[in-house]
Symmetry: C2
Amino acid sequence: MDNESNLRNERKRGSGVKVVYDILRDEILDLELPPGSPIDEVQLSERFGMSRTPIREALVRLAGEGLIDTLPNRSTMVSQIDFLNMHSYFDALVLMYRVTTQLAAKYHRPEDLEGVRALQAEFADAVEAQDALAMISTNAALHLAIAEAGRNPYFTSLFSRLLNEGRRILRLYYQSYNDRLPRRFVEEHDEIIAAIEARDTELAERLAREHAEQIVGQIQKLLVRGERLDIGL
Amino acid sequence: MDNESNLRNERKRGSGVKVVYDILRDEILDLELPPGSPIDEVQLSERFGMSRTPIREALVRLAGEGLIDTLPNRSTMVSQIDFLNMHSYFDALVLMYRVTTQLAAKYHRPEDLEGVRALQAEFADAVEAQDALAMISTNAALHLAIAEAGRNPYFTSLFSRLLNEGRRILRLYYQSYNDRLPRRFVEEHDEIIAAIEARDTELAERLAREHAEQIVGQIQKLLVRGERLDIGL
DNA sequence: TGTATTTATCTTGTCGACAATAAATATGCA
DNA sequence: TGCATATTTATTGTCGACAAGATAAATACA
């Protein structure tokens, strides 16, 4: 905390909002700020060593992405994860997996695949190390890189939002995530990347769909277990 | 303008940002503020009779939706319409037409259709009156109502963004839009609504796809004509 | 006269303070 | 004691002012 507030005078003009936004966003997605946590403006302004104005602008951005909820004239807090409408989430996630992968097969340039392969290597390492947190974030980064190779900013931005939301959901259960099966994901990624490289849009789409449904099934299993274990719903 | 600034003392606390946001958003989408228009904070604060702080928050929201671009420490202006990557737009638009209509057939409740029908009647009136602007906005409202009946907020919000963007594109050429053919759209809407009511998801999806492709083809024709007429590209 | 450097201006980013609203607390009354 | 009302407190929404960048203008120098 002192680290943050001591940046007071070294900060560049205009960077304040971005710093606050990035840090809060990560803390929300990593569940360091769990859903329902109160967000206090003066407290944040003390913590970051700046006035409430830039804090407020960062909060407006976060609210725009649905990561925090603001009750007018009252408190603002980290938004809840909507377990009741989870199927909407899964529908959207699967469709974005499919369409971004398909477009990547169609529109990617050779140099795009370098970054994708690097992230796939990272993902494989995370699986090998059974590091669930790293798996979640590198998986998201990998698929986002694929989406970017598809060059459709509308799909990419929705997909990015969905993957972030998923980061939050999965982190809820990441303890339970330490089992054997994700090794299959590494192979599936390899197949998907090969299909993209071959510019086989149909195959890429089909593989992405199966991959996404695998993942969704995985999450659903965790959710059911989680509901029985620690959540009421 | 005086009307706006005279609201100074009658305004409710907290409503300032929303007012500015709504007005600016409409002006941008209606091309009253054409792409590239400079956005000056002090000028807006004089116009709306409030300080720069709420203006700024409204601008942050608009920037979050990509309607304005902000150059740090420098000016901010209405964002350009990206004619070069228009195919990304069309891909996303068609897909959202399809998926939201399909989900509406699956998840709608009977009372949802009342609103949909009302909007369809408005659309028919606008076509009858050859009122291009009303056609554009009621068409967007109709399809957004259908999307909401599908109850997937992720798709609905992307679709809403796309329809707004389309409002901006179409208004560029709305003069050229005054011809006979959109009467077909009224019939297509009726068929789509019937398929939704019958909960025939496959038919609804197919009709929505054809409808969307009709519209896209229509826009593309306008664009090509527009490029030859008044834009360079 | 043309270019480099300094000065002025204009717009944004940040600040600290005040006002309004709603919740929490205290008070009055039966 | 129990409930309605008044008061305090906490937190947000808004304001006006100042400072920092960046551009435009003015000046100095070759």
